[in-house]
Structure formats: structure tokens, C-alpha cells
Symmetry: C2
Subunit: 154 residues, 2 copies
């Protein structure tokens, strides 16, 4: 006889493997970004003083306080932004989760949309049963890989 037990959200989380949890947190990061949801970004990120964030074309921002301010200003800018994530590759090294991926970013909303491409390296540290983002490095793709002989970018 089979007994059907209704899954609580907790049990469901326990049933997910480590990699699925990691991918879920990564997805929550981009959803929070799309939705301009600072509260979710608060939850996704580690609040340490050594966490790092590189927005495309920016320098490194160090520490959660400064990183949060950067998100505040990006969100306050009010621009519609939608992500398509491609080639999302997760890898877990004990207490560090690495996700590399390609971002196709659509800006615009009601205006004529503009599509740009970026690549990202996202790092997450295990904190208890959760993964917390400790590093986000996104960079603009301005050339087609392999089609340019020069290393120069300006």
C-alpha cells in the first residue's frame, strides 16, 4: 500500500539536491533584479564586508553596504530590464558554488527595446542550509570571441 504524504515546502526543499538549490538562488537573484526587489536582493546576498560586485563596465564594489547602494541606484533608475540566461553552468566545490552563464539583457519596456549581451561569474557560499551570493562579476560582450586579434578593448 502506498501512502501519499503531502509535501510541505520544507520537505520539498530537503528533497532538492545541492545543485538545484544553487541554481534556484541564482534564478532568484535575476528575478529580484528584474523586479527591482531590494528585499529579495537582501535575502540572496551575503551581507559580509568582503563580498564583491562588478556591474558591466564598472569597477569592483566591495562590501554589502556599498553593493546594496549600487542596487538602490540601479533600481531607482527605473529602467525596465529582462534577462534571458543561457549556458548556465553550476559547479559545487564543498562550500563554494560557482555559476557561469551568459546574459541576454533586454532594456526598454515601452520604448524600443535594446538587447545587449553579457557574461557573468557568480559565486555563492554555503551558509547553513542556504547558498548566499558573495560575488557577482558581469561584463559586457562587445566582440565576438575569437574574431578579434587584439586584446585591446578601447
Amino acid at each position: 500500500m502506498d501512502i501519499l504524504v503531502e509535501d510541505s515546502r520544507e520537505n520539498w526543499l530537503e528533497a532538492m539536491d545541492d545543485e538545484e538549490l544553487l541554481l534556484m538562488v541564482n534564478a532568484r537573484f535575476y528575478e529580484a533584479f528584474e523586479n527591482g526587489d531590494l528585499h529579495s536582493l537582501d535575502e540572496v546576498w551575503s551581507h559580509g564586508e568582503t563580498v564583491r560586485c562588478v556591474h558591466p563596465g564598472w569597477g569592483t564594489i566591495v562590501g554589502w553596504r556599498s553593493i546594496r547602494k549600487s542596487w538602490e541606484s540601479i533600481i531607482a533608475n527605473g529602467q525596465s530590464i529582462r534577462f534571458s540566461l543561457r549556458n548556465v553552468v553550476p559547479r559545487i566545490y564543498n562550500d563554494l558554488g560557482v555559476i557561469v552563464l551568459e546574459e541576454e539583457i533586454v532594456f526598454g519596456g515601452d520604448q524600443v527595446p535594446q538587447i545587449v549581451r553579457a557574461v557573468a561569474t557568480n559565486l555563492f557560499e554555503r551558509s547553513g542550509s542556504e547558498w548566499k551570493m558573495v560575488h557577482h562579476h558581469a561584463s559586457p560582450v562587445m566582440l565576438n570571441a575569437g574574431n578579434e586579434l587584439s586584446y585591446r578593448f578601447n
Copy 2:
């Protein structure tokens, strides 16, 4: 009575701690790049099919064969390039070493030198007693962090 034993290179390597070894391999990567030394790049990099490289402004190159070709073309370009590395921060998670840093890159040689800034996320996997590069993500710094309200980069 003290016995002075002449250090072999091997003993000297054993005396280095993990973080020093990691920093040394990272430094060798940039030296190889400056010197256009493909043989050293061969030694620094893991030769796996899933290693990844993002040159500034480029998309992701996957796998050592393709990555090596990109170095060949960059080196064949023959441009003089010198790095100053700043804020080099290493962190070790068991078998993964993470180094984030800022690159000040001087191009030019005999011509009028041009200085550009980049940030990099470099990942190294432990392979026996060595660290091998498995991920290099470098991106151009085109804005001053925090001075721009827009996330757009073009």
C-alpha cells in the same frame, strides 16, 4: 648542534603555504601573458574541456583548445603589454582557489603607452600539489563604480 641543510627547490615549495602557492600561480599567469610565453600558459592552465576564459569585452571561450587559440592570436598580435595588479585578494575553498584583483594594463611599448583598467575573477582548481587555472574572467572598467545611475553599458 645546528645542521644547515641546503634547500632544494622542492623543499622550498613544500614550505610555502597553500595561499602563497595560489598567488604564485596567479602571478605566473600574468608574467606568461606579458612575456607572450605560450609554454608557461600551457603550464598554468588546466587543459580540461570545461575551463572557461573571458577576455575583456569578449564572450566566453570554453575548453582549453579554444582558449589556447585565443592566447595564440593575442600573442601573435605582438602588442607590448604590462600589468600592474592591485587589490589582489586570494581565498581558498578546499580544492578551489579564488583570486579577485584589479588590473592596470599598459599597452604600447615604443609607441605612446595607453593605460586601461580591468577587473578579473580567476579560479584555480587543486590538482595534486599544484593549482591549475580553470577560469579567467577579465572585464573592462569603463565607468567609475557608483558614479553612474544607469546599468546600461552602451
